[in-house]
Symmetry: none
Subunit: 401 residues, 2 copies
């Protein structure tokens, strides 16, 4: 489903405001004893009432049956096709620690590893060194200088770090140096196309110099790189949708993904309450607000059914205040399902509601998976959500004469 | 909807087993008097109970409104896009008589025809000669030898037969010799691309020699060829889905289609009971079982509403025994609809259910067209079914970081 050629020239500037509320990992599965999902168990009167007045349905973030990672999940609900637009591991890792990648940057995941006397990988994770030791090693590597490029090395956690190269003419189409097995030496980074040759050369020089500086360390005396990539070069929300868009999210990864699609990331505290305050304060300045709510996913991944129910109830309690500033369109959905019974992201389609003055409220009486399945919107790809929101905001002209 | 680049690298080996039960021509239409479809009329308590515990929906084998032949119908439910992957008439005809085509073979449909003294087609079906006469003629044509290629000529029925060429460098991109009208001479087979020239030449030499040998016969003194094609060169179930797949089917055409997608075709008797026995015996050896049930389609094509109802009831009675060996995922569906009132394949979307531990059983209370339409899965392309089955079998990794 390709909106690219269709949306161009259709978007209208208008004062209409859209609230796009994403409860991460929203969808669930029935509890073994009660037969009710987390959404069906939770007391969420505000969401239920809004669903009954909305047009509802289920969306597939990628394709039916495909379980999305956070990158593809958000690309999908932001209206991009995750089967063609990819976000590499290095880019997500950089976003995940709040590193603000710029267009053209190349990012990669670093694993600190143990090399034996023959230079072969003995432990791909260097015995999972402490985060403190990681920080020390990152300090050593961060001093490396290479001509014509800025280098950034940042700690993630334990044996994991991030490398970012910034400069002219870089290209992230490189093969990993991580051989994904022990007993063999690390590989060289190889260019996957002609114009990545310079970047491959820079990376390999970084690795050689890094190894020299870590030689006497133990157990982390080497590094493995994988997931080279640049932030996707895609038209942002302004260009694609004519929207001045803001993002309010506690977790760095989602702020990074929002940046990548041209949203302005607003400062907000850690608590969801403080994020709602930010929404209130910024209300006048933007057309579109992406508000990200993480606890639903976190409790789902913990396998904590009751915790996810409580996270939904907490979100519900914030809804009246969130709505108060006034929005022409409110979309509530998730980036994927995270059933507590599976303790992980899943492939199940995700409930959504679109609330505006231009809805046919269908058979949906509550905001649940089963009720959404009976909604007017049926089952659609996630990339339809923003065009639908634009339509409900009267921000799209007629297509064709 | 393109899974090609998405599934690559996501499939996991696991012990999870999938039963894929295809009732050919499953979907129907309401009886004029009762207003109930065949599925709604049949007493199928086992299927109904399973549907109520499954996630259900309707699938389109090709596209909404398109009535599929058996080739596209099965390609669709096997997860291939029938709008880009084609199975030619010659290939299907060869499969239909149990001829095991190999990659690179070129197959075509033969019509025995009557040519007048001027070499013009007088009867495209040679008065529908008997199958016995057909066999005699096939014996004559089967003796033809052409350098560098093996020839196989096989009887189908009445005036219909199959030609298969096997050898190096063959290409089935040829135009028909059948002019599709009388009063004109047969055409020469023409190459549709450069590398089909050799094959066109071989075919035309076969036709000339065949005509020479049949000259004195009456009424079948000539042959017309159409539907040249090779078995589709597509990644099979092992490569595409990571599945060791078996097929249990009484009819040769379905065994052929299963072979084409890399399934192992198991020996089984003519009765469905003996096929269920084969399923039991082979249970330990495969990950995936395609079980094909033909009577639903046959009775539908006969226009025998009651007969189709009985065929559904008979299938239902086998279900408990089929389930007994234990499957992690059970899919029940059809390759297309065959409403008795239409006496033919139809374009109506086809009910399906997916049963696993990871379902939200929806509003579906029975296994019918109307109940499936109210199911959690909505209406999806047929090519989603196998990815969904893989997901429910936990045989797919997360897509993207």
């Amino acid at each position: 489903m390709d909106y690219d050629g269709v949306l161009a020239g259709l978007t209208l500037e208008s004062g209409a405001k859209i609230l796009f509320l994403v409860a991460d990992g929203l969808g669930g599965l029935p509890h073994q004893e009660t037969g009710r999902t987390e959404l069906e168990t939770a007391r969420i009167p505000n969401l239920d009432t809004m669903a009954a007045r909305s047009t509802c349905g289920l969306h597939d973030p990628v394709l039916p049956g495909i379980t999305p990672g956070s990158g593809p999940g958000h690309l999908g609900i932001f209206g991009y096709d995750p089967t063609t637009v990819r976000v590499g591991r290095g880019v997500l890792a950089a976003y995940g620690i709040g590193f603000e990648l710029k267009p053209g940057d190349v990012a990669a995941r670093i694993n600190f590893c143990t090399l034996d006397a023959g230079g072969r990988v003995a432990d791909r994770r260097a015995g999972r060194i402490s985060t403190e030791e990681n920080q020390e090693l990152v300090g050593i590597l961060g001093d490396i200088r290479l001509q014509g490029v800025d280098l950034f090395v940042r700690t993630v956690k334990e044996h994991r770090a991030v490398l970012v190269l910034r400069g002219e003419g870089l290209d992230g189409a490189l093969t990993d140096t991580d051989p994904q097995q022990t007993g063999v030496p690390p590989k060289e980074a190889g260019p996957l196309r002609k114009r990545a040759e310079k970047t491959a050369d820079l990376v390999n020089r970084f690795v050689v110099e890094g190894r020299r500086r870590l030689k006497s360390r133990h157990p982390a005396n080497g590094i493995l790189l994988r997931g080279f990539d640049s932030p996707a070069a895609i038209p942002g929300f302004r260009e694609r949708y004519g929207l001045k868009a803001a993002a309010i999210a506690a977790y760095p990864m989602y702020r990074g993904l929002a940046l990548m699609v041209g949203m302005e990331v607003l400062e907000a505290g850690e608590s969801f309450e403080s994020q709602v305050e930010t929404l209130e304060k910024a209300h006048a300045e933007f057309d579109f607000f992406f508000v990200h709510y993480k606890p639903t996913d976190s409790r789902g991944e913990d396998g904590d059914f009751d915790g996810k129910v409580q996270a939904l109830e907490a979100l519900d309690s914030h809804l009246p205040r969130m709505m108060k500033p006034g929005f022409d369109v409110v979309v509530v959905t998730g980036d994927h399902s995270t059933p507590s019974t599976l303790r992980s992201h899943s492939w199940h389609p995700v409930p959504f509601m679109i609330h505006s003055d231009w809805c046919i409220a269908g058979a949906t009486r509550a905001f649940t998976e089963r009720e959404a399945a009976a909604g007017m919107e049926g089952r659609i790809p996630a990339c339809c959500l923003i065009p639908l929101a634009l339509a409900h905001a009267r921000r799209l002209e007629k297509y064709g004469a």
